[in-house]
């Protein structure tokens, strides 16, 4: 089977399994509505925190409210998409401990697709909606001299960001194969990462910014391209074309995460743990 058909098979399996979870979720209608609403309120409160902060100060690290809202909207929307698609990969460790992971390995479908679709929940759409609303408001409010490349950069940022976060989810899942109780480590990078990116890079130390740029390149989700968009200096010197390499960074991250996943799965199948 070629790589292409593996991807097609994976998407098909993902679609089938996610559909089952959606239907399973619908069997508890009241609970479904309640968690959906709860989710919207909770993610909404998240941005209220930033609004409250700006009721006391005019700028954060030199960035105005619409500019911080742009960072926030980009970070939350791209994270939300990755979380919607792969957000339950942190149950992998539990599945390994109770042995139900083995039942996925006897099915004629790629394991990554099965794990990714595990516990698929429509309520996670709440975060995407909320992020998109804030992003929309920020785009309308920021003071930017819009040009064609700048307009195109917006969807590119969201999609690349979603891919980068997805890679972090997959890499985290691969890590859980080796350390089965490490779901919290994964959460630190995913939820922690999206929170980090909601604030301007200028409020953090340069070492942290360097780490988020070159080691775990979350900065390419929004920091680097948004700084270019807003005409703001990036705390550590980067050439201006760096604003456009997010898709490339995303591809590399996904490839590395895929490799990590393969290694993890191979290790599981040879060690049984």
């Amino acid at each position: 089977m070629g790589e292409r058909s593996v991807v097609a098979e994976g998407l098909r399996a993902y679609w089938l399994i996610a559909g089952m979870w959606v239907r399973a979720g619908m069997t508890y209608r009241a609970s479904f509505v309640a968690t959906m609403v709860g989710n919207l309120v909770m993610t909404g409160m998240d941005f209220v925190g930033i609004l409250l902060m700006f009721s006391q100060v005019d700028s954060l690290g030199g960035w105005s409210l619409p500019e911080v809202a742009l960072l926030y909207g980009l970070s939350v929307t791209s994270f939300g998409i990755a979380d919607l698609v792969l957000g339950s990969m942190d149950v992998l460790g539990a599945r390994m401990r109770d042995g139900s992971f083995d039942t996925l390995l006897v099915r004629p479908a790629p394991v990554l697709a099965q794990v990714g679709a595990d516990r698929f929940a429509v309520r996670r759409l709440g975060r995407v909606v909320q992020g998109t609303v804030v992003l929309g408001w920020a785009l309308a409010s920021v003071d930017v001299d819009w040009s064609v490349p700048k307009v195109l950069l917006v969807p590119v940022m969201v999609l690349s960001g979603a891919a980068i976060f997805s890679a972090v989810f997959v890499a985290g899942a691969a890590f859980q194969i080796f350390a089965q109780d490490a779901a919290e480590v994964q959460n630190a990078f995913t939820y922690g990462g999206t929170t980090l990116l909601q604030y301007p890079p200028s409020v953090f130390g340069k070492d942290l910014v360097r780490g988020a740029t070159f080691v775990l390149p979350l900065a390419f989700v929004n920091w680097v391209p948004a700084a270019y968009l807003l005409g703001r200096p990036y705390p550590i010197g980067l050439p201006s074309w760096a604003a456009f390499v997010s898709p490339l960074v995303a591809v590399v991250c996904c490839a590395l995460a895929g490799l990590a996943w393969r290694t993890g799965l191979r290790s599981y199948r040879s060690t049984g743990s």
Partner: protein, 329 residues
């Protein structure tokens, strides 16, 4: 026919599985040692055979099943199922095998049973006509008609097991692996499951490999039994032979009207325990209980009696003790 000259469907040649086990010995100190979960096992199973795979917990049963199903990669040796190397072509093999893990359901907890089957239909790409035909047959044989619309979480253990077995067979697998298929089931469900497996094997010549703790499963289903202990195959043959090899004994529990001295039973049957009016007699598993029961009933004031089958653990333990004895003398 000699199974070895028939189409060898499952072939194991010197298959090994070695695990590196790390044990915490201190805060950060870890001790590593190697465990041979499966130690050079060789056997073949012909197409259409029904084989019982038994052994104490931790003997290597599940490790073997996991290698056969492609979950685990063997550390050494050669393993083929239907000519396929399971660990290399996991997905291709998945279309040709069915697996039932006794204690883990693969059915969708919150959804009606039929929904799980619809997923199998699509995931395994079962042709529509074939799917309907198979489903109808399963519903009939496993008595699932009333259950199809019921959410799986509302099914009893026995119903769920029947549901799981049907799910594993909708895509016409050539081989079915069952891990403890009757564990925790009531007598009626056990009988249904066993009857079904017999019929499946007769109708479709499906190869069946089952692990169990219940000797009756083996007695009623399998012409051949393999015993694994400490990762090695210690017995491969008919069940009767296993009883001989292990000199296993059944127990007759007799309730008398009153307390009496130990019953004078014809050897080799003998009283092994007395507790008030209740007495326990051990007799060879290969012998019939009828003669012994008739004799006791004729000579003693009998109230009630029951026969207990030897459990596998005891049979194997005894088999081992015998071997060790022979080795010493």
């Amino acid at each position: 026919m000699d199974p070895f000259t028939m189409d060898p469907f499952i072939e194991l040649d010197g298959v090994e599985k070695v695990f590196d086990v790390r044990r915490k010995t201190g805060f950060l100190k870890r001790e590593r040692h190697r465990v041979r979960a499966v130690d050079s096992i060789s056997f073949t199973v012909a197409r259409g055979e029904m084989v019982g795979y038994i052994g104490p917990n931790g003997a290597g049963k599940s490790t073997t099943i996991k290698m056969l199903t492609g979950i685990l990669t063997p550390s050494g040796g050669r393993l083929r199922v239907a000519g396929i190397d399971p660990s290399r072509e996991r997905k291709r093999l998945a279309h040709r095998m069915g697996v039932v893990f006794g204690q883990r359901t693969t059915l969708w907890w919150d959804l009606p049973l039929i929904d799980s089957y619809k997923l199998m239909h699509r995931m395994y790409r079962i042709p529509d006509a074939r799917y309907r035909e198979n489903l109808d047959r399963m519903v009939e044989l496993l008595d699932l008609g009333e259950l199809l619309a019921v959410p799986v979480r509302q099914l009893s253990l026995g119903q769920r097991m029947r549901g799981d077995i049907a799910a594993a067979l909708l895509h016409d697998p050539e081989v079915l692996y069952l891990d403890e298929p009757t564990i925790g089931l009531d007598v009626i469900s056990k009988t249904k499951v066993r009857d079904f497996l017999r019929q499946l094997n007769a109708e479709r010549a499906t190869t069946v490999l089952l692990t169990t703790h219940d000797l009756q499963d083996i007695e009623q289903l399998c012409s051949r039994v393999m015993v694994i202990d400490h990762g090695r195959l210690v017995y491969d043959g008919a069940l009767a032979g296993l009883h001989e090899a292990g000199e296993s004994e059944r127990t007759l529990v007799v309730d008398l009207e009153r307390e009496l001295p130990p019953i004078e039973a014809p050897p080799p049957a003998r009283v092994v325990r007395v507790e008030g009016p209740r007495q326990w007699l051990a007799f060879p598993a290969s012998a019939s209980a009828a003669g012994l029961v008739a004799r006791i009933a004729a000579e003693y004031p009998l109230v009630d009696l029951s026969v207990r089958e030897p459990d596998i653990e005891a049979v194997i333990a005894k088999m081992y003790a015998e071997r060790a004895d022979r080795a010493v003398s």
